[in-house]
């Protein structure tokens, strides 16, 4: 196999380079909640209010890189080249889901499926995880410059930013 050295070295370099991609949500974070006997998904915005997928002005502060927000969404080609297929058809600000845009709590929600695969069952109380009100995890996994962490830039932004319509403050037990 004459390509073996090339493949070996390329694979080695790839391993050394590491991987930034995250395919699964952190297991310790609850993705479902039980409210008055009914199981529902935890709104992503509870934790990710300032993440790259939800209004995401802080993404620029964390990475110096605006993520998808750096693109002009009025561009004819935005959907074709930029919007993930697992995101809803109307992009940010919509109540999109990881499953591909189904309504919140819909049966095909892959977030729910992922949670169930981890051993949860519908109707059971979700395990307690990181509190949404705690130190929010940015898209990189690092503590983002959220208002609670004292970033002045973040505070200014948040203060001037209206609360997204999709954010739901569901009471929890």
């Amino acid at each position: 196999m004459r390509l073996a050295p090339f493949v070996f070295i390329a694979s080695l370099l790839a391993l050394l380079a590491g991987c930034y991609t995250v395919l699964n949500h952190p297991a310790e974070v609850a993705l479902t909640q039980n409210v008055e006997g009914e199981t529902s998904e935890v709104p992503c915005s509870d934790c990710h209010y300032e993440s790259e997928w939800f209004g995401a002005y802080d993404h620029q502060l964390i990475y110096g890189w605006p993520g998808l927000l750096g693109y002009d969404r009025s561009d004819w080609w935005f959907d074709y080249y930029r919007r993930p297929w697992w995101q809803g058809p109307y992009g940010y600000g919509d109540d999109w889901h990881f499953s591909g845009g189904g309504p919140e709590g819909s049966e095909d929600s892959s977030w729910k499926k992922r949670a169930l695969r981890r051993g949860e069952t519908e109707g059971e109380p979700a395990p307690t995880g990181v509190h949404p009100g705690g130190a929010a995890q940015g898209a990189s996994g690092a503590t983002p410059a959220s208002p609670s962490s004292g970033s002045s830039g973040g505070e200014e932004k948040k203060a001037s930013e209206p609360e997204p319509a999709h954010r739901k403050k569901t009471p929890r037990r």
Binding site: L3, A10, A14, A17, V22, W76, W85, S140, G141
Partner: protein, 449 residues
């Protein structure tokens, strides 16, 4: 395929060597890997796509570009090529070309849903190389005696068909918020049908016995092999990207059937034909060298400008026939090509227009070789050979456009025209010049779910 060369030198040498003074040594020119037009967007930008690739073209241009893809994609492309060669030999011109249609590629890309970063798999089949060649040279060498002490009309033709397809699997992922890596493994499979005819005719009716001599050589080969590429893409800012690609050697194995035939025609109307199958050598293995490429792209509002540079040391081509190595190094050269392209994104419609330019020096040093020269297969270049210099390096101009239907269906079209001119450094001893031209039209259709 290089057995073709060996066969020609050995057989042609014994059959005709004593009769002719020389000819341009085109038989040594191997069809080397080229930037192919299997993706209209890339071709429309002159091939400047290493830092741009964000569709199935990434499979061949830069696999790291797959990490940019966020939607499931199925795409296909069709091509139409018109290639011709015009030669002038001993003051006589000949022109031969052909138009052909072909399936350029078929691809499927799947980006995994990711909470962060990107992981994309891609598979595809691409026509990586089109072996089609229609070459003809014809002329009377006044210094050579063929028939009864006089010259004859020499007509050499080289007709080749075939293709090389690549069945690729690729993966790309984000190694950082700005950095992506990718790799492609490609299994190569194809075929080649190659005919060369060397025809000498007694046009001046000088010989009492012979009318013409003909030497015919056939190569029918099945080709298999593999190669790989690895690349990176770095997003320096939302508007600036850098990319790099390293291409592994392209290894090809030729499983050949060969035939040599002579046909002598006589004044009395009869002819004598002799056939010889040539199982002289084992299968042939050709290894094309590593190549490396870098690209940069800058996106301004309403436009993208990109540039690529690629380097291949073609002198490193290795050709082994059985245990015998063909000395090709003197006939190939270092090659650095560059491309520059631009894409305009129109604001009033889902339409993009493109243009590009590519400077891509031909890797082959054509020479004019005397028939009574040495066997270059074993000893390398004959000192008596005369260079046929590049008069105008191979250059391509391209144009293209893409339209997006209903946010999911993109149709791209590109047109590329290329030219190459060679002229002898010593026209008195090697009276030859040639001009090669190619016109390609590519249509790509991509559907994103």
């Amino acid at each position: 395929m290089k057995h073709l060369i060996v066969g020609l030198v050995l057989l042609f040498g014994t059959a005709v060597a004593a009769c002719a003074s020389g000819h341009p040594y085109t038989e040594l020119e191997i069809p080397v890997p080229e930037l192919t037009g299997t993706h209209a967007r890339a071709l429309g930008m002159g091939g400047a796509h290493i830092a741009v690739a964000e569709d199935a073209s990434a499979l061949t241009w830069n696999p790291a570009g797959l990490a940019n893809i966020r939607r499931i994609e199925i795409s296909a492309s069709l091509g139409r090529g018109d290639r011709s060669v015009e030669t002038v030999w001993h003051g006589t011109s000949a022109d031969w070309g052909e138009v052909g249609n072909q399936l350029g590629g078929l691809h499927f890309l799947y980006p995994f849903p990711a909470y962060r970063g990107s992981l994309v798999l891609g598979i595809g089949v691409d026509r990586l190389q089109d072996y089609a060649l229609h070459y003809k040279r014809s002329g009377v060498d006044p210094d050579v005696s063929f028939f009864g002490g006089g010259p004859g009309l020499l007509t050499d033709t080289h007709e080749r068909d075939g293709k090389l397809s690549g069945y690729s699997a690729a993966i790309a992922w984000d190694a950082g918020p700005r950095l992506s890596f990718g790799g492609t493994l490609t299994y190569l499979r194809g075929s080649m049908y190659d005919e060369q005819t060397f025809f000498t005719e007694d046009v001046y009716a000088q010989d009492a016995s012979y009318v013409s001599f003909e030497d015919y050589y056939l190569l029918d080969a099945k080709i298999s092999g593999f190669t790989a590429t690895a690349g990176f893409l770095y997003k320096a800012s939302p508007r600036v990207r850098f990319g790099g690609v390293l291409g592994a050697p392209r290894y090809l194995s030729f499983d050949r059937y060969e035939l040599y035939r002579t046909r002598d025609r006589f004044e009395n109307g009869t002819e004598e034909i002799t056939y010889e199958e040539i199982p002289i050598y084992d299968d042939e293995e050709i290894t094309f060298p590593y190549w490396i490429g870098f690209g940069v792209s800058v996106a301004a509002p309403g436009a993208i400008v990109a540039a690529d540079i690629r380097h291949t040391d073609w002198r490193e081509i290795k050709d082994e026939i059985g245990s015998r190595r063909v000395l090709l190094r003197p006939y190939y050269r270092d090659g650095t090509s560059f491309s520059i392209g631009a894409e305009g994104i129109l604001p009033f419609a889902p339409l993009r227009v493109r243009a590009g330019y590519r400077y891509d020096p031909a890797p082959f040093n054509l020479t004019y070789i005397p028939f009574d020269g040495e066997d270059v297969i074993d000893v390398g270049r004959d000192p008596a050979e005369i260079d046929i210099a590049i008069d105008r390096e191979r250059q391509f101009l391209s144009f293209g456009a893409g339209y997006l239907f209903d946010r999911v269906l993109a149709i791209d079209v590109a047109y590329q025209m290329g030219r190459l001119e060679r002229v002898s450094k010593d026209p008195s001893r090697a009276p030859y010049r040639e001009e090669r031209s190619s016109d390609e039209l590519i249509l790509s259709v991509g559907y994103r779910f």
